[in-house]
């Protein structure tokens, strides 16, 4: 008899009622292949300890104090204990946990909002369709041990994430966890949950909303602050959640409004708008938010969730731009007009009676926003409303600068603003054009200027020429990497003949402008790395053109093979980048995935040369993603601002025992080269980051051809950007076959003279020196139970 959902009473036990809410299909339990389906907060602790024992948590506190509870403030300087007994190390680790939890909660709550909405619209039984894949939800399968088939199957997944996040949050209360090591294990757990929440969010929107399904050649979307026709009404959607913008796009489609209204997005909502409807466009990352509002171009701002400036209502209302808030997480004290008629709301907003409205009825948002834009736009355009000064005012403002440097002290980038002001007084505004790219658009300088110069507005006015030219192209987010692509490329990755996968991810808090992201991608594409991007970084890659007017997306195709440039999509599409490594482990190496996190992560760490670059990461979400990737064995490099996350995972190559692994064939211990050397680290500059990326793609499993290719890039990038051979290149040489062919003889000489290695010059062979030999069948693992002898 098949069991159905419902209530049952057992005969003879009339007082006992059994409720069946969800029926697990026959065989579903049998899918579990590993020891940790639905891991609790300590289930993967031993794996976390393995990570932490090699990649030591490094704390760089921004504050030496703790003010979490009313015992405090406590001074923890010098790792002293506070009143509750926590020391600075523990407190720093607790902050790492809280940061990861916040990020994970953000993505998962985004997924929860979408799941409610999509189930209501399409039903629980709507099938998952992500493109040509059997492994449809790699993170879900690896973490939960289930294979979801419908969007309703994600209900227990999100319930699990939410329950775990509550448990983790509880452990951060004063008087709970006190060990830094266990805080870190919990932070890694939160990071993993973050990956899971993101996967749910993106898979359900791909499945239900017609977003591209692992398509390699999606259309190009326009990007930049200069793309919109300012003569038309302009709608700008800000945030990350496609639900509300989708209704607006549908309404515009149904009413043929695309020729009459300009619609674009800021931050990840923009990616998902273009994935939903190719007509939509992208203004840029969060660092463009304040700049674009101040330009006065938007006639209506629509907010959903994440990466929305806390002062957006204040800024918008000063320029008579109505704000429509569409998500319960960001409501700005606005009146809830969800139940009111569209006409009434439009009247109140167009007349300026209200600054904005909270509207949670998304269908209403769809109709209201385009109509409101058409009504408000002529009024705003006639008045020519903008925060930017006109030419005359600009001249007066720059002349007012006293060169006190207060703005530079307050600027997170410490930009030389006064120099630009001085140059502008003598008619040279070019320095403002440089500042515009380096400025992250935070507005702190406005508050700091003692003579009340609106500094950001002055910079933006001075940079109008480059802003007008800011027009690029981004290949629309493709979603996952399909199984066939993995089948084709998996071998190259594991053997190292494709030098690595570099995931260019994160936000726009770059240390030296957006151009760096373009430049790293271009260099690495020329070197045949696979570049996968997502989020704001994916946007910035498309902002620059070559001499023929082409962006990198137009020059390089989007397949998952060497030398290609892929955009997976928005912030939640980051999940697919991490999941790609699971797919390689499963499809190429036949590893079991379901409920088998540790084995998969161990495989990824030892064999897949993938590294994340979060050059401009600013948010808690970015930290959670990085921490989740770390638990999956993927190292991450961040820009210098990343030190303000306060925790990194840094390896000690000089501590030889840290680099012992087992050979899974017999359980023997092998001392290997430090690869990957770190799990999370920062670089100060672009030059330093380039060879570091190449080094972080080296893995113990590389075959000789692969190692030679990886070393070639490591050496060349170090020589090109740092004017030197790396100090540690020889550590990665196991035999002469590992040496780059073009330089083999010269490198053998260096090994002999500088490192004392013995070379048989007749045979051109290394006879003594390397820490280990190449062994093509070597099966490196950090997990003893995965060794044959031990498991017997």
């Amino acid at each position: 008899m098949a069991i159905k959902k419902g209530k049952f009473v057992i005969e003879g036990l009339e007082n006992v009622q059994i409720n069946i809410g969800k029926v697990i299909e026959e065989g579903a339990e049998r899918l579990i292949e590993g020891p940790t389906p639905k891991p609790g907060i300590t289930s993967l602790r031993s794996w976390d300890y393995r990570i932490i024992d090699r990649y030591h948590p490094v704390y760089t506190p921004t504050s030496d104090m703790c003010d979490y509870c009313t015992y405090g403030k406590c001074d923890l300087t010098g790792n002293k204990e506070g009143a509750c007994g926590i020391d600075l190390e523990g407190q720093s680790a607790r902050q790492a946990l809280m940061t990861s939890i916040m990020g994970a909660a953000c993505h998962s709550a985004h997924g929860r909002h979408l799941l409610h909405y999509l189930i209501k619209r399409y039903g629980e039984d709507h099938p998952i369709d992500v493109g040509p894949s059997n492994l449809k939800a790699p993170l879900t399968e690896t973490i939960m041990g289930i294979q979801p088939e419908t969007i309703g199957d994600f209900l227990p997944v999100l319930a699990y994430v939410e329950e775990q996040l509550t448990q983790l949050t509880a452990s951060a209360n004063t008087g709970q966890e006190g060990s830094a090591r266990d805080f870190e294990s919990k932070a890694l757990h939160a990071g993993m949950l973050d990956l899971l929440g993101m996967e749910v969010a993106d898979i359900i929107q791909i499945s239900c909303m017609g977003l591209p399904k692992a398509e390699e050649n999606t259309a190009m979307a326009e990007i930049g602050m200069g793309i919109l026709d300012q003569g038309k009404p302009v709608v700008v959607c800000v945030g990350h959640n496609i639900a509300a913008p989708a209704y607006i796009l549908d309404y515009m489609d149904e009413n043929a409004l695309f020729d009459r209204i300009e619609i674009a997005g800021l931050c990840c909502t923009a990616h998902d708008m273009t994935r939903y409807n190719k007509t939509a466009r992208i203004i840029g990352s969060m660092s463009k938010e304040l700049k674009y509002i101040r330009s006065g171009i938007p006639d209506v701002l629509v907010t959903d969730e994440q990466c929305v400036r806390a002062d957006i209502l204040k800024e918008a209302s000063e320029l008579h731009i109505p704000v429509i808030a569409t998500n319960e997480k960001i409501t700005y004290g606005l009146p809830d007009r969800s139940g009111d008629s569209v006409d009434d709301i439009i009247d109140d907003l167009a007349s300026g009676k209200e600054k904005g409205a909270l509207i949670l009825d998304l269908e209403k948002v769809g109709e209201l926003v385009p109509r409101l834009a058409m009504k408000v736009s002529p009024i705003r355009k006639e008045k020519g409303i903008t925060a930017l000064p006109d030419d005359e005012e600009f001249g007066k403002l720059v002349a007012k600068c006293t060169k006190c440097q207060q703005c530079t002290l307050d600027c997170p980038q410490n930009l030389p603003i006064a120099d630009a002001m001085v140059a502008a007084v003598s008619g040279d505004i070019s320095q403002f054009e440089v500042l515009h790219d380096k400025c992250v658009g935070c507005g702190r300088c406005d508050y700091s200027c003692p003579v009340k110069i609106p500094v950001l507005n002055v910079i933006e006015k001075g940079a109008q020429r480059v802003i007008r030219e800011e027009k690029g192209k981004v290949r629309i987010g493709r979603g996952q990497i399909g199984d066939p692509e993995i089948r084709e490329e998996g071998r190259n990755l594991v053997l190292g003949t494709t030098p690595g996968v570099i995931a260019i991810v994160g936000c726009g808090n770059y240390p030296d402008g957006t151009k760096d992201v373009h430049d790293v991608v271009e260099e690495m594409l020329k070197r045949s790395y696979i570049i996968i991007s997502s989020g704001c970084a994916a946007m910035d890659i498309g902002m620059y053109k070559d001499d023929e007017g082409k962006t990198l997306y137009e020059k390089y195709p989007g397949r998952f093979i060497k030398g290609n440039l892929l955009n997976t999509g928005s912030c939640v599409s980051n999940a697919h980048i991490a999941a790609t490594t699971i797919k390689v482990a499963s499809i190429f190496a036949g590893r079991k995935t379901k409920g088998n996190w540790e084995e998969i992560a161990d495989y990824v760490m030892n064999r897949i040369g993938a590294v994340g670059l979060a050059w401009g990461a600013y948010s808690q979400k970015a930290f959670a993603i990085a921490t989740g990737c770390n638990r999956l064995g993927i190292p991450v490099v961040a820009g210098p601002h990343g030190t303000k996350y306060r925790r990194a995972f840094i390896g000690k190559p000089y501590k030889k025992d840290d680099w012992n692994v087992f050979d899974a064939r017999d359980g023997s211990t092998v001392n290997v080269e430090p690869a990957p050397e770190h799990l999370m680290i920062t670089a100060e500059t672009f030059d330093e980051m380039m060879p570091l990326l190449a080094k972080m793609c080296i893995r113990p499993s590389d075959n000789s051809l692969g190692r030679a290719i990886k070393l070639t890039h490591y050496l060349e990038l170090s020589e090109k950007y740092m004017n030197k051979m790396p100090d540690d290149w020889h550590v990665y040489v196991r035999s002469e076959a590992d040496l780059p062919v073009a330089k083999r003889e010269q490198l053998l000489k260096t090994l002999e003279t500088e490192h004392g290695w013995k070379i048989d010059w007749d045979r051109k062979k290394i006879t003594e020196g390397p820490m280990r030999k190449v062994d093509v069948s070597f099966q490196p693992t950090n997990v003893p139970r995965l060794c044959k002898e031990v498991s017997k």
Partner: protein, 183 residues
């Protein structure tokens, strides 16, 4: 600048407030320091290390760092500093600043050349916020003494210059050089 002018004392203890306004770490902040004090401390250290970062490339600063390096102090070139320092005949080694700040907390680390740890760490020419974060690790998790001889006040160091105008900064480096050359 003439040698006489170079050794003229400049006051580097003024404007000893964090260069990033909000960078106030806690009750313990660096003591403002005069250049002669820095020079003497470096000169007397058993095994000092000078850390130099990506702001070293400008002519005057570079010249001073090279002169300091020529007095024999070992240099950790962090960021991309090696590009300007590598070919100057100095005892200079590339190192990642984030990793270095951690290795310096490890009593078992044998230094950049494998010859042992350092008893005094001095730095300059590093992106302000980056240096500040990195040395917060040293401040809280090591016993190493840290001096900032950069043109910014660094609260996380044990002793630091205040926020300096460029000419004062260069003059202060000259004073340090004079002290080192005395020894």
């Amino acid at each position: 600048m003439t040698r006489d002018a170079a050794v003229k004392t400049v006051d580097t203890t003024r404007r000893a407030v964090p260069f990033d306004t909000a960078n106030i770490p806690g009750p313990k902040m660096a003591k403002p320091m005069m250049p002669q004090v820095a020079g003497r401390m470096i000169a007397r250290a058993r095994r000092p290390l000078l850390i130099v970062g990506s702001e070293v490339h400008d002519g005057d600063v570079l010249e001073k760092v090279i002169t300091i390096g020529k007095t024999g102090i070992q240099i950790a070139a962090v960021g991309n500093a090696y590009k300007s320092l590598g070919d100057k005949g100095l005892d200079v080694h590339y190192m990642n600043m984030h990793a270095l700040s951690y290795y310096l907390c490890d009593p078992k680390w044998q230094g950049l050349d494998g010859k042992g740890g350092y008893d005094l760490v001095t730095f300059l020419g590093i992106t302000y916020y980056y240096a500040s974060q990195a040395i917060s690790a040293l401040k809280n998790f090591s016993k190493t003494k840290v001096l900032s001889i950069d043109k910014y006040y660094h609260p996380n160091a044990d002793m630091s210059f205040g926020n300096l105008k460029n000419d004062i900064f260069i003059a202060a480096l000259d004073e340090i050089i004079a002290e080192l050359q005395k020894e």
